[in-house]
Symmetry: C2
Subunit: 133 residues, 2 copies
DNA sequence: ACGCATTAAATGCTTGTGCATTGAATGCAG
DNA sequence: CTGCATTCAATGCACAAGCATTTAATGCGT
């Protein structure tokens, strides 16, 4: 029993998406890791923060809540919590008390963090350009 | 320093691809796991085998080499080896000696395996249709 | 003011993945 | 035939991710 006519499109679309995703994220992982000591998710987080995209409290542009970042990079809250811990250990990020709501934690990019992101960004863009041109 | 003009396209493309991938594979994981006890990769493997796509030796359609399946589903050789082991434990697949080259292993779909795949395929298609229509 | 459901983030635990290594079988060179 | 590099799959190991739970802080209702 082969696939239904109507199903072929979505299945092929899905497989192509899986293939693209695998190829690109694999290449990204290698390059970012080898050349800058960053994983794909790590870079993605730094990238969002560097953009200063802040949907947060005062509409600011440097402080981020953990859950907010988790949504952005499609990771679970726990995964993000640990990822932040890793970035903090490396000195790329710091955690700060959120005075307004003391359950919350603000994540801030350090100078070193900005630097590492700035170094890695061209590599990131290059890989994407190569594989998605 | 914002993103280069030329870079915006690929970066947005990449982010959209990441988002699509996260959404769909998350939904698939939930549905397949809850309703059929299968992970996404597991299903993908069964699916390729059920298709009898066999690029293998005699151009057959039921025996598969491990590495061959690994390529298809974008997993490492070791990941596939363990995945096969899981499927074998569940009785969905069996391993057989490859007489021609006794380093190799053939993976065969069992009746139970075909059955589980047949049950899960509609769910799989439904999820894809919902999210990629 | 008090209790209770809710929310934020961290943590214990399990599992899947990749890298590197191992062990077995093959095949090619001399 | 012997030795050596190569290839296939399995395994040891380290690590990232998700789920469920925990701890802390809020805030809402009475």
């Amino acid at each position: 029993m082969a696939r239904q006519k109507s199903g072929i499109d979505v299945i092929d679309t899905w497989r192509e998406l899986l293939a693209r995703h695998a190829t690109v994220s694999c290449a990204l992982e290698r390059e970012l890791s080898d050349r800058h000591g960053l994983g794909v998710s790590e870079f993605e987080v730094l990238d969002r923060m560097a953009e200063g995209l802040a949907t947060c409290d005062g509409g600011g542009k440097e402080k981020f809540r953990v859950q907010e970042l988790a949504d952005e990079v499609h990771l679970s809250q726990s995964a993000l919590s640990r990822l932040i811990a890793r970035l903090e250990r490396e000195g790329l990020v710091t955690r700060a008390m959120c005075e307004a709501d003391r359950r919350g934690v603000f994540v801030l990019l350090t100078d070193e963090g900005r630097k590492r992101h700035a170094e890695a960004a061209p590599t990131h863009l290059a890989v994407l350009t190569t594989h998605l041109g």
